[in-house]
């Protein structure tokens, strides 16, 4: 088995397809190529694809990840180009790298995600709202699950909340815990803030894993540096 890690973006109209749709789309795109994809065993063999973290419907993803197993090795840039020729506009592989087969898949490692809201104008009360959120000891939100509605405290899952300047206007950055060890959802945080009209401008900039006690992107850029250099220049197109 030859595992590869793919970084891709999901933008434009494609932000309206669900996570399940995305899995199918990659599976079929691969099947339209001659890339030697490894398949799962069993009654209904599926291409061995493991997405790092599902993305909510309607949210763009600038740097999303998936691990793909091949049955034979293939050059990274060939994988990238062959696959891109088959992906619909809005989905694009940005980078492919071979990973050690001993490495756990990214889905088990992801600990945080950086969400960004483009603000054409920054309402004055927004920064005040941010501060009061950050000062709060606990922030309870209602979350609907299979067993009815639960109240959970999302304060421990908010790592960072700040407003930054970017090329056009300003941006609200939210670094939120993600993955199986507990998470806060961007919409939950936004609902606690005193500003409206965020909904259509939110995107997920990148995912982060813990390495040596620090959050960094799967590609190894620390969260500090990431925010400084700013994702804005790493856009898809």
């Amino acid at each position: 088995m030859y595992p590869y890690r793919l970084c891709f973006c999901k933008e434009g109209a494609l932000r309206y397809i669900s996570h399940l749709d995305l899995q199918r789309t990659f599976g079929r795109a691969l099947r339209r190529t001659d890339i030697p994809v490894a398949y799962s065993r069993g009654f209904n063999p599926q291409p061995r694809l493991r997405f790092a973290l599902p993305l909510a419907l309607g949210v763009e993803g600038k740097n999303e990840y998936l691990d793909l197993d091949l049955s034979a090795p293939l050059q990274e840039n060939i994988i990238k180009e062959t696959l891109n020729a088959q992906l619909p506009a809005g989905l694009r592989v940005k980078n492919v790298s071979a990973v050690e087969s001993s490495q756990p898949s990214l889905s088990s490692l992801v600990q945080a995600a950086l969400y960004v809201v483009d603000l054409s104008v920054c309402p004055a009360d927004l920064s005040r709202g941010l501060n009061s959120l950050l000062q709060a000891q606990e922030l309870f939100v209602e979350r609907r699950g299979k067993k009815g509605t639960r109240k959970i405290d999302i304060r421990p899952f908010i790592h960072r909340l700040e407003i930054r300047k970017q090329e056009k206007g300003e941006a609200l950055l939210m670094l939120l815990a993600a993955g199986s060890r507990g998470s806060a959802r961007p919409q939950e945080v936004l609902a606690l803030l005193p500003a409206r009209g965020f909904k259509d401008k939110i995107y997920r900039a990148d995912l982060f894993v813990f390495r040596a006690g620090e959050l960094e992107t799967p590609g190894g850029v620390s969260v500090e540096r990431y925010v400084e250099v700013f994702y804005g220049k790493e856009n898809c197109d």
């Binding site: 309206y16 397809i17 669900s18 399940l20 749709d21 199918r24 599976g27 209904n44 619909p88 506009a89």
Partner: protein, 616 residues
């Protein structure tokens, strides 16, 4: 519509993937550079419409032409419909998000009666005037095709014309005529007159129905150019006719999310209740070599992992074993599954099913249709109890998890004894579960009994539907009896739905007002049982003073004029009458591909030469 309006819609609806129109293999053209914009409309949700083969064929065929851009429309779900109304936005196409009213030709597929109100709803949401009489020179032409175009009378006032028979044969001619009419800028009527000269085109406004009191009394031709009868069109050379290879691949889960390989068209079994068996005659097959090539191309261009062999009865394809072996060889090691729907309930069919499903964990579906041999003979369902039991036995031995059995209730001449026979047949099948050893406890038998709906162009077109109260009591009877049998689950559609199907199936133009009324009262997507509202329909019939029972229950004499007599499926009326009489004598008619021509009256039938007793 602006991109912003569109985004706002996508943000708010529950499943935006239904309306994106950005799927793989979607056809992109610059609409300003084509002469004709054709809307292909499926009057149901995306997930249903995208599973339909006819739409894909016409989409591919029309878009091959440089002067035409064909785009898709599906019925909006409730959430989108609300937004369209609130915001004053017209129903839009998937490809370019253009309002329906901007299309030159608006083509609906007519698949089931309960979609009629959705059609009217879509026209009004799309800004197209409902009645042909209200349409002005610049308005769209509305056309309809598909099986129900062979009796579209309840829809007559809303459609400029209908296409009878195989659409891929007629569409190019319509597009040519349209292009030259548009250049000449004649009247709407001039275009329709021109069309009426094309075999297979029915312009309803050129015919006037006559009534004798309540009774339908034939039609009067209003134009010399209008043929009487209008004859169905047939693709003779199925092998070389256009077939799409770059199917659009949906993002979201749709009902049939897989490649479709049409192995043959038509069916020669001659089940007397089955409209498809009569209106798609004669049987025309594609060769194994052709099908293999198509399968290879489709999988290459779509990336699907499943191919479904499509026909009215897969096991009747003359080279089915070679085809399955050939496809399996073609896709060996590539994880492409084959599926075989529409199987006969016999051991040979199960043998085929076992071949394509290496792990036999799934289920199989059989359609004995009637419980007793007598009634199966009445409907000419050529299958014996012995075969059904043998197939069930094999299914359980080979490890199937469930068997689905389709029956029809209220068939002509059905008695209580026939229902008891049905129960006994299910009991016998249930008893076979012990063959499965320890697994027997988890084996399920799903029995489904739909209600018989008499269909035009079949021998049972002269039969009334069983009265609704009686339908319900027979459903109740089956429910009680089948409940006692281990492992059996019983399902049946609402009697009211089947009743409405019967009303419109053999309906005439007087029902059009009822459709309009029902839409005004809020009827939509009624083919979905959760949205079906019979009280609304009762109100619509009462409001228009139309008695639905008249339509569902009338029993004309064999020589009475019928509302669809001016539309010909190619099968002779005399033959249908003969079949009707044989039904009452429980006399079977053999498959004409096995036993030679039965003289159904079809002209130019390539099968007429078939000798008796030639093995298939």
């Amino acid at each position: 519509m602006s991109g912003k309006d569109l985004d706002a819609i996508f943000e708010e609806v529950q499943k935006p993937a239904r309306y994106l129109g950005r799927e793989i293999n979607v056809v992109r053209k610059d609409p300003s550079r084509v002469k004709t914009r054709l809307a292909l409309v499926f009057p149901d949700l995306y997930e249903v419409g995208m599973s339909h083969l006819g739409l894909k064929i016409l989409y591919g065929l029309a878009n091959q032409r440089e002067d035409v851009y064909a785009e898709r429309f599906f019925a909006p779900a409730g959430d989108l419909e609300k937004l369209l109304r609130q915001r004053g936005i017209y129903l839009f196409s998937l490809e370019t998000h253009t309002p329906l009213q901007s299309f030159n030709l608006v083509g609906f597929t007519l698949q089931y009666e309960l979609s009629y109100t959705t059609i009217l709803k879509m026209l009004s949401l799309g800004g197209v005037p409902l009645q042909t009489a209200q349409r002005k020179e610049e308005d769209s032409f509305v056309l309809g095709g598909g099986p129900l175009a062979l009796n579209p009378e309840p829809l007559a006032p809303f459609f400029d014309f209908f296409v009878l028979g195989d659409g891929e044969d007629v569409l190019p001619e319509i597009l040519n005529k349209y292009a030259s009419w548009k250049k000449g800028a004649g009247s709407r009527e001039a275009f329709l007159l021109d069309l009426a000269g094309i075999p297979g085109i029915y312009v309803p406004s050129f015919y006037e129905p006559l009534y004798d009191g309540e009774k339908f009394n034939g039609v009067k031709c209003l134009k010399a150019a209008a043929p009487l009868p209008v004859k169905k069109r047939v693709v003779n050379d199925l092998e070389n006719t256009f077939y799409p290879e770059s199917f659009i691949v949906p993002y979201m889960d749709v009902v049939h999310d897989r490649a479709i390989l049409e192995i043959f068209r038509g069916c020669s079994q001659g089940c007397r209740f089955c409209q498809a068996g009569y209106i798609y005659r004669p049987v025309r097959e594609r060769s194994v070599a052709k099908l293999k090539g198509q399968a290879r191309a489709i999988i290459r261009q779509t990336g699907w992992d499943e191919i479904s062999l499509s026909s009215l009865s897969s096991s009747d394809y003359s080279q089915i074993e070679e085809l399955i072996a050939g496809l399996q060889q073609e896709f060996a090691g590539r994880h492409v599954r084959l599926s075989l729907p529409s199987l006969r309930a016999d051991p040979f069919s199960l043998h085929l099913a076992d071949k394509v499903q290496e792990k036999r964990a799934g289920g199989v579906t059989f359609a004995p249709e009637a419980g007793s041999q007598r009634l199966r003979d009445v409907i000419n369902k050529g299958i014996t109890e012995k075969e059904i039991l043998a197939a069930a036995e094999q299914a359980f031995i080979t490890g199937r998890s469930h068997i689905k059995l389709y029956f029809m209730l209220g068939l002509p001449t059905e008695t209580e004894e026939d229902l008891w026979e049905l129960v006994r047949l299910v009991e016998k099948i249930s008893a076979l579960r012990q063959l499965a050893g320890k697994r027997r406890h988890s084996l399920r038998i799903v029995v489904s009994a739909s209600t018989f709906v008499p269909k035009p162009h079949t021998p049972f077109q002269w039969e009334p539907q069983l009265k609704m109260a009686e339908v319900k009591s027979r459903q109740q009877f089956l429910r009680e009896q089948l409940r006692k049998i281990k492992g059996v689950q019983f399902t049946w559609p609402a009697a009211e739905m089947s009743f409405l199907e019967a009303v419109f199936s053999r309906g005439d133009r007087r029902l059009a007002a009822v459709l309009e009324k029902a839409v005004a009262l809020g009827s939509r997507l009624e083919a979905w049982s959760d949205r079906f509202d019979f009280a609304l329909w009762e109100e619509a019939f009462a409001g228009e003073k139309v008695d639905p029972c008249f339509y569902a229950y009338y029993k004309p004499a064999l020589d009475d004029p019928l509302p669809w007599d001016h539309l010909s499926s190619g099968v002779a009326n005399k033959y249908l009458q003969k079949e009707y009489e044989k039904a009452y004598r429980a006399e079977v008619t053999p498959d004409c591909r096995r036993e030679g021509c039965q003289g159904c009256g079809l002209q130019n039938c390539p099968l007429k030469q078939v000798k008796k007793n030639v093995p298939l």
